[in-house]
């Protein structure tokens, strides 16, 4: 059996606004559009993924928040309706997805073997979080690949951002080893924003783009700093500065997704592909991809 490999790593923010703006048949809410910079970036990245051969998407989500270790989806199918608890007016999405349980179990077992607290989630009534659904929908609207969702163990709040770096990196390495031993080709997804301060009021028409802007300039400057480092292939440096970035901007990196992904990919030194940056209700969001293949890696933006 050939060694498995990570064929791409995507930073894929999950504001439900992006699915709302797309008006897919699965979502009950209707919009007049909005947030095109991110959505068009997502569409271009989705087209790229169509041209990459892979077996599964493994996604790390901050909206499945677990305090007792890291949990993995552990049943082959989940079908239900996801309603965003914060933006239910925008996101009521009927999903029907498949899970690569063998891969989930392999990652669980490897992480467990390395001393990480883990749990398989096997309750059929469990509702898959909207972060998973939003990012996966935008990266693969056909839902024709199985997924594995990994929960966010809340180390930042319980301990510190530095502990999160250590824990999520260890988890990433364990997942990478399990992927390699599985023989599968996998796309990793870190589902989150960068800076993450929201406005606490919403425009009467949520997709009114005349109302959309970053929460404050400090958030923007920090986001640009991180994106510049991504462009320059300084992923190790991104992780080094992550604790300060997270604290200064209330960044959603606090959930550990990007740390996990870059750790699993061995801190790539090649440039990230940048597909778009835009604010959503004040938060900063970038769509980016790390493509380890020198022949297919692009300078997108």
């Amino acid at each position: 059996m050939a060694k498995g490999q990570i064929v791409a790593g995507c930073l894929a923010p999950h504001p439900p606004h992006l699915v709302y703006a797309d008006n897919p048949p699965q979502n009950e809410a209707y919009s007049e559009g909005g947030w095109e910079t991110l959505r068009w970036g997502y569409q271009r990245l989705a087209r790229k993924l169509k041209n990459i051969e892979y077996d599964a998407i493994v996604i790390f989500t901050p909206h499945w928040q677990t305090y007792i270790g890291t949990h993995f989806l552990g049943l082959p199918q989940f079908k239900s309706k996801s309603v965003d608890p914060v933006f239910p007016n925008l996101f009521r999405y009927n999903y029907d997805l498949t899970v690569d349980v063998d891969l989930a179990q392999a990652m669980h077992d490897e992480a467990h073997a390395q001393g990480i607290i883990t749990k398989m989630m096997t309750n059929p009534d469990f509702r898959v979080d909207y972060g998973t659904i939003t990012s996966c929908h935008l990266l693969n609207p056909e839902w024709d690949k199985p997924i594995v969702t990994i929960s966010s163990n809340r180390n930042t709040h319980y301990y510190s951002p530095e502990v999160m770096v250590e824990q999520a990196t260890a988890l990433g390495r364990a997942c990478a080893k399990a992927i390699e031993e599985s023989g599968k080709r996998v796309v990793l997804v870190a589902s989150h924003s960068l800076s993450h301060r929201h406005f606490v009021e919403e425009a009467p028409l949520p997709e009114d783009m005349s109302r959309e802007h970053i929460y404050n300039h400090s958030q923007y400057v920090w986001d640009m700093k991180i994106i510049d480092m991504m462009r320059e292939g300084k992923s190790r440096e991104v992780i080094d500065i992550m604790p300060e970035f997270t604290e200064q901007t209330m960044a959603e990196t606090e959930g550990g997704g990007l740390i996990w992904m870059l750790g699993a990919m061995g801190y790539p030194k090649f440039p990230a592909e940048i597909y778009g940056y835009q604010s959503v209700i004040g938060t900063g969001n970038v769509v980016a991809c790390w493509d380890p293949n020198d022949e297919t890696r692009e300078h997108v933006l």
Partner: protein, 311 residues
Amino acid sequence: MSETNEPEIIFGVYCPPHPQPLLSPDANAGYAKLRAAFDECRRRIEESDADIILVYSTTWASIIGHQIQALENAVWTHVDDDFHYLGSMPYNFAIDTEFAHAMKENSEKRGLEARTVEYEGFPIDTGSVVALQLLNPDNRIPSCILSSNMYSNRAETIVLGKAVRDTLAQQGKKAVVVVVSSLSNRMFTEHIDPAEDRIHSQKDDDWNHKILEFFGDGRLEDLSQLSRDIHGQIRVQKVVAYKPAWWLAATMGQHNNYDGEVLAYEALHGSGGAVITLTPASGSVGDKEFDEDDVEFYRGDRNVLDRGMLE
């Protein structure tokens, strides 16, 4: 807005959000005691002539202002993110929609951002599900649930409580008010044998006992004034502040004139879980001069950087 509105609040309940008392009460003697305490509250609610059970849940986080559950029949099967292996929690709640919509209007009149949520399948949080399933299993009394805005601090939370008073007085409804919150909220970060559950640390336990002493003495406003200390000492910093005592005091009345009763205090995977009742009374531990001001209307965050000098 009337400043003399005096709603009739029959009693208040403070209870934990964890699902063990609902799903696995026999796994630990402490869980069984918490369950028995919930059952006692349920019995008292049934014997009261309450018109509404009003829940403020710290496990329902909101961002766009304060959300108010307004779906007349909220039906779903909930599964907890951490404790999914304990089982599912089917629910069917009868929501007082008249209260919910008036609550939104009264919140806005006091300067708050507020909105009702009225969507089939809306994910009602673990804490609210546990509380309403145990306190009102047959939907004998209509309920309503309020979110806890993750960015709100004291002023907003106090004003939210006053908007509840406005609404109850306006509608002439007698209420049982329920706060869903742990005391200390640090859980063990590994899986444990439930039989060996205990409070995470001695410090957490000491603080919990001090809080319970205050509750037992009916010193609700004193606890409200201590909220920032409690947050710093025994709360994992997930949100900006420990708000339950603020909301409960603002809703029930900002004083110490209560009969407090601690029905149970036990560990829930390391966190402090207590079931407590507070009943309005005439006696008082005493009025004091408090550090924290009262506030009637919310006028937004005051940004000290906006103005360099007073005009």
